[in-house]
């Protein structure tokens, strides 16, 4: 009896907490599905970043506002074929009574690109014929919405992930030092936290955007990352406060483990579940933030396409009766963000240390 018990113990031995969490995640059907969706997105984005797909998203494949293939070609589109891709100033219905300062620049750029040099693969000189329909339709310039949204996703998700990594790293480090060391270090970081949270997050981002004249993907990442650490910090500090008086940490001190060792070898792995969940949640938050910033024109520069800049085009299109870009972009974003959010929930459940 004793030996069989030992046997079975050996069979499932060495199941670390992370292995258990992974097992739990795999049993959660919603978690697996969302993990697969997120992974597919990331793979597609990696491919587009490496230039494997969507490289020539800027090519004019079709007529202006060509509908999706499954809808069939529209009469209107065929009629407008002649003047299809040229920016139609008549369509610039400004329903909001607001002046979009970027629109002329944007249009000018498009024209230059379309007519221009060989830097854009398949620019119009070797596109003799533009089709009347496209997989998911075409935008004002006849570009494929499918490819454009994919390219936009690359920017938005890159910004989301990179700034989430930055913010989480800062928050974790600050939280660890403040919570563990206490004293004047804690007082200083708490003061900084007080200052950063007194200003509403978006207002702070706007203020920085107003000051920084040059725009770029890297700038956006920095802005979001440097301002978004407060939430993670709060949680990690609380965790460190809780853990530093736990008996296993006292025991580590009793056997002579150094502060650094206690902070990063003992406590950090035990709060890693909080960090992971926060990271995944931050990605979602920052994707949303980037979309809003770019929509307002405070985000990525005009020559970079992102979900925000795509959505910026859609209110005017809607009034003209063209909703495909809005639907595609909105859906792509909703699917990714839902998957990420559900993955976050699944991670939270799987990593919950209370469930053993």
């Amino acid at each position: 009896m004793e030996s069989t018990r030992m046997e079975s113990a050996r069979m499932d031995s060495a199941r670390s907490l992370s292995a258990i969490a992974w097992g739990r995640l795999r049993r959660n059907r919603v978690g697996v599905v969302s993990l697969v969706v997120v992974a597919l997105f990331l793979l597609a984005l990696l491919a587009s970043a490496c230039g494997l797909i969507a490289q020539d998203w800027d090519r004019q494949y079709a007529l202006s506002f060509a509908p999706p293939t499954f809808m069939g070609a529209s009469q209107q589109a065929l009629q407008e074929e002649s003047s299809a891709w040229a920016p139609d100033t008549g369509t610039q219905l400004d329903m909001y009574g607001l002046h979009d300062p970027l629109q002329p620049v944007l249009d000018q750029l498009r024209i230059q690109q379309a007519q221009g040099s060989g830097s854009f693969k398949g620019a119009n000189e070797n596109t003799p014929e533009r089709s009347a329909t496209l997989v998911l339709g075409a935008d004002k310039w006849g570009r494929s919405i499918a490819l454009k949204v994919m390219k936009g996703a690359e920017t938005s998700v890159l910004v989301g992930i990179a700034s989430a990594l930055l913010a989480t790293a800062i928050g974790t480090l600050f939280g660890a030092f403040a919570g563990y060391l206490g004293g004047w270090v804690d007082a200083l970081i708490e003061w900084l936290y007080g200052v950063f949270t007194a200003i509403p997050y978006l207002l702070l981002v706007f203020a920085i955007a107003a000051v920084l004249q040059q725009k770029g993907v890297f700038t956006i990442i920095l802005i979001l990352g440097l301002t978004g650490w407060t939430g993670v910090y709060r949680l990690i500090r609380a965790e460190y406060l809780k853990h530093k008086v736990r008996e296993y940490v006292l025991a580590a001190e009793a056997i002579g483990a150094s502060h650094t060792r206690r902070m990063f070898v003992h406590i950090l792995p035990n709060v890693s579940h909080v960090i992971l969940v926060q990271l995944s949640q931050q990605v979602v938050n920052f994707i949303k933030a980037e979309v809003i910033l770019s929509f307002l024109g405070f985000g990525v520069p005009v020559d970079v396409v992102s979900w925000g800049s795509i959505l910026n085009e859609t209110p005017n299109e809607l009034i003209l009766g063209y909703g495909w870009q809005l639907i595609t972009c909105g859906l792509a974003m909703a699917i990714l963000v839902t998957a990420f959010a559900m993955l976050t929930d699944a991670l939270r459940d799987a990593l919950d240390p209370r469930l053993k």
């Binding site: 607001l98 003061w191 000051v211 979309v291 929509f295 959505l311 990420f340 959010a341």
Partner: protein, 311 residues
């Protein structure tokens, strides 16, 4: 009580100084020379020197900081760079519409959110609960831009039920203009509210005193509405109060789309026009409001929770 208030107010001073310093460094140091922004592309050195003198940016940084500090204390931020209107006047006139939009939204959101969260907690772990959790997750993942773009297009532009844009501060006009933005704002904010309140309520339902209440033979309704809700209201009230100032800015998209002359829209326009005095004034003022409301939230917390003593 008085001792507590005084201590909290004293503690606010370093935070406020930090905010002022942060804003100052951002605009007067990181931002570079504002004269070039003001003077535009084609300007001669004389113009620039002139503007620099007017703005005081030819002074050393510590004097500039002193000027800014005095501006904050006297609530006199000078004139807007783009409209020449006094900045404090801009702030005060834009506050009204923002509050007229946000207050009803916040009240509705809290009431509806708590009611639905209680109902969901009542049937926790059932398929209704799971379905609602799933749909709130999905609802939260759609960008608020899309809610507003589609909502405005469909309800105002296509159906014509509401005016596309515009604003009136009170009376019938307010009702006419405010309903759609409020409804759209609710559509965006209700899902996260339900999720948050649901966790507050479920946290309380796991406590031992709930078991005691059931052991006393109380009906489930009384357990939920009296014992659980009274305890869960503590984090809910705190949360609502401290989220108020953030909303002032959070509704900027609504204000922008519906042309509501509020604080949020003012910020966006100021950023677009590089109107630094306006941004600085709004940033510092909203930060002060946040601190005051956090203090109010703490006071409310101690008022509803007998465990915390004012000391």
């Amino acid at each position: 009580m008085a001792a507590y208030l005084i201590r909290r107010l004293v503690q606010m001073v370093p935070t406020l100084l930090g905010v002022i310093l942060l804003v100052f460094l951002l605009f007067n140091w990181v931002g570079g020379d504002p004269a070039y922004v003001l003077a535009g592309k084609f300007s001669n050195p004389d113009d620039i020197a002139n503007i620099r003198r007017q703005l005081g940016v030819d002074q050393p940084l510590y004097i500039q900081f002193g000027i800014f500090l005095r501006q904050v204390l006297t609530f006199d931020y000078g004139l807007s760079w783009s409209t020449q209107e006094p900045v404090s006047h801009i702030f005060l006139t834009r506050l009204g519409p923002s509050i007229a939009l946000l207050l009803p939204m916040l009240i509705l959101e809290t009431l509806i959110g708590v009611a639905i969260a209680l109902a969901v907690a009542y049937v926790r772990d059932s398929w209704i609960d799971r379905a609602l959790t799933l749909s709130t997750t999905a609802a939260m993942s759609i960008s608020l831009l899309i809610y507003i773009i589609v909502g405005q297009y469909f309800f105002a532009f296509v159906l014509g039920w509401f005016p596309v844009q515009g604003w009136a501060n009170h009376g019938e006009g307010w009702v006419r203009y405010a309903v759609l933005p409020i409804l759209l704002g609710l559509a965006v904010s209700i899902a996260p509210a339900i999720r948050l309140y649901r966790t507050f309520i479920l946290d309380e339902m796991g406590q031992d005193y709930v078991r005691t209440a059931r052991a006393k033979g109380l009906s489930e309704t009384r357990v939920m509405w009296v014992h659980v809700l009274r305890n869960a209201s503590i984090p809910i009230i705190t949360n609502v109060l401290s989220s108020l100032p953030g909303l002032l800015i959070g509704a900027f998209l609504l204000e922008r789309f519906f042309s509501i002359p509020g604080i949020g829209r003012e910020v966006i326009m100021a950023v677009e026009r590089s109107d630094f005095p306006v941004i600085k004034a709004i940033t510092v003022s909203v930060a002060i409001a946040t601190m005051v409301f956090n203090l109010l939230a703490d006071l409310a917390y101690q008022w509803v929770d007998p465990r915390v003593k004012l000391s």
